[in-house]
């Protein structure tokens, strides 16, 4: 049925149509049945009147018969009586009487006697009953009544029927009134019909059509304009339509309260930064947003309707082609993944995609939604970070982190004998001082090349920083490695570095230690090699010293010397605290907090930084004691003076923690006890944990962090960016701040790579709502750079050297 046909038969027309049918049946039925009833009534009534009239004449004739002394057949001048009767009787055409044999006897004028047979008339005489005979041919009605003569026989009245009286009427006497009645009935029926239809039309219009039209208008309004300008219906009745109207109003209210408009959704979809693909169950792209167009370079018309496979650069990565994909996505087992899309021009774009399914009410998947985020920059930054994490940017050699990993691997599978070598350049400082850092860097690149060439690709060469290098010579004992190192030493010694017409000849102090089954841990290996190198340098440099057991005594003597100093410091209060401001990277340089730094003063009055004594502290398990001393001393100072000095400043204090403290089960409780004892607000303290600590002791770190964060303390990851701690750890540990490693920060005014790394750290940190601190900001250029990169805070010599709390606050 067409739409047009649907509209043609609206409810009003349907009801009127039904009413027409009912009325038609009713009117026709009434006309037929009523007509029949009226006809019977008319005939009966006319019969009554006709018989009454005829009886009058019958009575007269009977009276004549009785009055006259002559026989009935000899009544004198009876015809005038009949004529008079005809003249004075309404509708009577003529009358006549018969004798007892049915023969016409007395006739009025114009009487016609052949309308009724003689037999019928004779029968009327014999039966003596009144009757009506119709002659349809002649259109006549005959009323027949008996004529009687009463005679007295032996004192008794004897009735003798002498004939019949026939009174003739035209049939029109009955049909004419009936026809008039039918006419009135027909007019009445038509008027009733029309009135009923019009009344029904009016009432249907008022009660049904108009309310429905209003409802339709309101619904159309919603369908066109949504809920922007809804028409609220005025409901005045409680009938079905009124209830629908009320339900519509309720629905509007409910929709208004719960529905987000399509425009709103469209606006979100269009403006979302992530590319969005709606994919139908045939795996064809049904719809894309502007971000998707921008990402892939297609026009909408070019991509919509195409297979989803067009998106993927490598179909092996295409999740839609994976076995069990449909089931997995229905069960929400498809997770985010990083793959490569291919653009219209064939360029590959790394993206992070998220797939989800849209299901109908029965749980059947009707569409897939794929959101994709362009991670090109992130991937680059991550690659850079990965590089940074393993390589020294200046020389292209591995860095310390990679070196440590190499040692760890060796220690894990220590079946072979290897040699670990540490190299310190002699007099390298001269090049820097004379020709500047550029010359120094250039020289270092030469040295790196020479190192790599000397030991080959099978061995691991790393730059530890400055002019320090290290080598892991695999599967070589010290004896086997020594010739290689000697050749290296010779090559370097013979290398004349020329810069600005100046020639420099730099030597190397090489310390080597053999790594075998009986060996040490990573730190010991480092220290051992470092001492060997130290011995080499002590012996005049430009030589190789392979560590031997006899060297151990020398080292021990040194360490014992430092241990003595450290022990004395613990016993004689040789430690003290300094504070270095952390400021916001804006023009105001507002102090955000202070890093609490420990210093040690020797008996000779020399002030040592942690680098000088911390290895001893760690080796002799004094880290926990030192951290407890720091906590206690800080809390005491805070209680005594800091709280007053910083009363009006909203600052926090960053305290470094050693691995041993974090691994200690009771350290967190100790911290809480101290804070409580000295009324130190927890939210004023931020603990800094090194990135390497998090990597190597994650579970312990997590437990500790949960404890101290529950008290309100904050958490910062120190020296971030060196060890390439995965970003996911930041989220897992609920980190508040990351302090970007000074080795990265220091180079941001020179190295684009460092800048990219720092930028990526900053972007990720900000996405995770983590504040960033640039450590070791030691020049104006670095300050400006980190400020440009959006780092939140900075600390370093450029801002202020560490000092007593009074000095830094002042």
């Amino acid at each position: 049925m067409s739409e047009k046909r649907k509209n043609k038969f609206n409810i009003r027309k349907k009801v009127l149509f039904i009413l027409c049918i009912v009325l038609s049946f009713s009117v026709i039925g009434n006309f037929i049945i009523g007509g029949e009833i009226f006809k019977k009534a008319q005939v009966a009534a006319f019969d009554r009147e006709a018989f009454a009239t005829a009886r009058g004449l019958q009575t007269s004739i009977n009276s004549l018969i009785e009055k006259s002394y002559l026989p009935y057949t000899e009544i004198v001048n009876c015809e005038p009586v009949l004529d008079n009767f005809v003249d004075n009787s309404k509708d009577v055409l003529y009358v006549y009487t018969t004798d007892s044999q049915g023969n016409a006897l007395y006739l009025s004028k114009d009487a016609v006697v052949d309308g009724i047979s003689r037999e019928e008339l004779k029968k009327g005489v014999l039966e003596g009953a009144e009757g009506r005979i119709e002659n349809e041919d002649k259109q006549m009605l005959y009323y027949i009544l008996p004529l009687e003569e009463i005679k007295q026989v032996e004192g008794k009245a004897v009735v003798n029927r002498v004939g019949v009286l026939v009174v003739a009427y035209p049939r029109t006497c009955i049909t004419e009134p009936l026809n008039r009645l039918y006419t009135y009935n027909a007019i009445l029926a038509v008027i009733t019909y029309v009135c009923t239809l019009m009344l029904a039309f009016l009432l249907l219009t008022r009660w049904v059509t108009k309310p429905l039209q209003t409802l339709d208008k309101a619904i159309r309004n919603v369908s066109k304009k949504g809920l922007m300008e809804p028409i609220v219906l005025e409901v005045n009745t409680n009938d079905e339509i009124g209830q629908i109207g009320q339900s519509f109003n309720d629905m509007l209210m409910q929709l208004d309260a719960t529905t987000v408009s399509k425009n709103y959704i469209d606006s979100i979809v269009v403006n979302m930064s992530e590319a969005l693909f709606v994919i139908d169950i045939r795996m064809c792209i049904e719809r894309v947003n502007d971000a998707a167009i921008e990402l892939l370079g297609y026009e909408k018309e070019e991509i919509q309707g195409k297979s989803v496979n067009i998106l993927y650069a490598n179909q092996d990565e295409n999740p839609f082609l994976q076995e069990g994909f449909t089931k997995d996505i229905e069960n929400e087992k498809v997770t985010n993944s990083e793959i490569e899309f291919v653009t219209k021009t064939g360029e590959k774009k790394p993206v992070s995609i998220n797939l989800s399914a849209i299901k109908d009410d029965d749980g059947n998947v009707t569409k897939y939604v794929c959101t994709a985020r362009d991670i090109t920059d992130i991937k680059k930054a991550r690659d850079i970070l990965m590089y940074q994490a393993n390589y020294d940017e200046l020389t292209g050699l591995f860095n310390r982190y990679k070196l440590e990993q190499g040692i760890e691997k060796i220690l894990e599978n220590n079946n072979q004998v290897h040699t670990f070598v540490m190299i310190d350049l002699d007099k390298f400082k001269v090049i820097n001082d004379v020709c500047g850092h550029t010359a120094g860097d250039n020289f270092l690149k030469h040295i790196a090349y020479m190192l790599k060439s000397a030991v080959g690709d099978n061995n691991l060469v790393a730059r530890l920083g400055g002019d320090e290098f290290a080598i892991i010579m695999y599967d070589m004992g010290a004896q086997k490695a020594k010739p290689v190192l000697e050749r290296l030493l010779k090559d370097v010694k013979s290398f004349n570095f020329s810069w600005d017409n100046k020639v420099f000849n730099v030597g190397m102090s090489i310390g080597a230690v053999e790594i075998s089954n009986s060996n040490l841990d990573r730190l010991s290996i480092f220290n051992t090699a470092d001492k060997a190198c130290y011995i080499a340098k002590q012996k005049g440099g430009n030589r190789i010293h392979v560590y031997t057991e006899s060297d151990k005594e020398i080292i021990q003597q040194d360490e014992e010397s430092m241990l003595s100093v450290v022990t004395s410091a613990f016993e004689n209060n040789g430690f003290f605290l300094e504070y270095q401001p952390i400021v916001s990277l804006d023009n105001e340089r507002k102090v955000q907090g202070y890093e609490v730094l420990v210093r040690m003063k020797t008996r000779e009055g020399e002030v040592l930084k942690p680098g000088a004594f911390f290895s001893t502290i760690e080796r002799y398990n004094k880290s926990l004691a030192l951290d407890q001393w720091v906590i206690h001393t800080f809390c005491e100072s805070y209680h005594k003076s800091i709280v007053k000095m910083c009363a009006e400043a909203d600052v926090q204090f960053n305290i470094n923690l050693a691995d041993a403290s974090i691994n200690s089960e009771n350290f967190a409780e100790y911290v809480c006890k101290e804070f409580g004892e000295y009324n130190v607000p927890s939210d004023k303290v931020c603990f800094e944990i090194s990135e390497s600590c998090v990597i190597s002791n994650f579970l312990n770190v997590k437990q500790f962090v949960e404890k101290i964060k529950s008290t309100g303390c904050k958490l910062a990851i120190d020296n971030f960016g060196i060890g390439m701690l995965s970003f996911k750890y930041l989220r897992l540990l609920d980190v508040d701040t990351v302090k970007i490693s000074g080795t990265l920060i220091n180079e941001t005014d020179k190295s684009a790579v460092d800048v990219a790394v720092v930028r990526s750290i900053e972007e990720v940190a900000h996405l995770l709502n983590i504040k960033t601190i640039a450590g070791c900001v030691e020049s104006r250029g670095v300050w400006e750079k980190v400020k440009e990169l959006g780092i939140d805070y900075a600390q370093g010599y450029e801002i202020m050297k560490p000092g007593s709390i009074e000095e830094v606050i002042k």
């Binding site: 008319q42 009534a45 009276s63 006259s68 002394y69 005038p80 009586v81 009134p177 009445l188 009344l199």
Partner: protein, 356 residues
Amino acid sequence: MKKVTYVLCLLCAILVVASCNRKNEVDKVTNQGTTETQTQVTKEKFEVLHIMSYHEGWEWTEAQLQGFKDALKGYDVEYTVMAMDCKNHADDEYRNKKAAEIQKIIDDNNPDLVYVSDDEALQYVVANNVNSEIPFVFSCVNKDISEYGLAGADNVTGVYEVEHFGASFELLQDMVPDIKDVIVIYDRAEMWNDVKARMLAKVGDYPEVNFIFLDPIMTFEQYKQTILEYNGKVDALCLVGVFNYADENGNSVFYQDVLKWTEANSTIPDFTFWIDRIDNSTLCSVAISGYEQGSTAGMMAKRILVDKVSPADIEKTHTAKGSVAINTKRAEKLGIKVDADLLLGAEVYKKYQWEE
């Protein structure tokens, strides 16, 4: 919408009119041959004293009373009937004595109205109540009431008994064509003088007919001779006075005997003006109707009692409508065939009273 409403209203109006017409039409159909009468009833009660000049049970007097009663039908009327029986008592002593008795009743009961029939009651009773408080209404009085001393009576009105001479003669003409000679017979009573005078005044309407007014006949014998004398010589006989024929002893012969003899011996088609004569073998008459007389008097009484109209304001009158009466046995004997038309409109007597 308004137009549709107006059209609807118009159609409704047409519907109502059509319904009414239809109802009328249906009523016409279903109520054919039926009529309806209504009777008005008043609460007021009246006492009426009826004084008959003659005796009770006589058709003539009873017909008058019935006519009177029918005219007052629907009203609460209490009737007291007193009969003077003057037809059987011709002497003044009796009549005066009876009148005194009646007067006492009038005085004692003080009726609302007194209705008197025929001349004697007027002569002996009403004449004594001229201008009294009680209204008197009379019927079937032959003489002018002034002859009874009631000329100036304001409380008396009524209906004179005037015979239908012309109608009666024409009825006979319908039955017996070509009547040329008619004899008119009276007895000795004076009251026939007025009748004779009224007849003489109308005979001019029939110039082709010779009306022979015989002198009053005194005796029955004289009557018989007269009838026999005119048998076959005249075409019709008008019997006016037949009550006061003396027999050989000087006593009045009962009028039925006079008429019985006439039926047996006269071949002359006869007619008269009084219905009781037809029952006693006179051929035909357009008779003075005692009922009509009484009915007209009753209408007057109603105006007096109900409408409170003074009798003086009600003109004295006479009845114009008579009753056609034919004695078919007499007609058969005389060999007269009566037209069906006449028979239908007539009160037919098929026997003689003495035969019943």
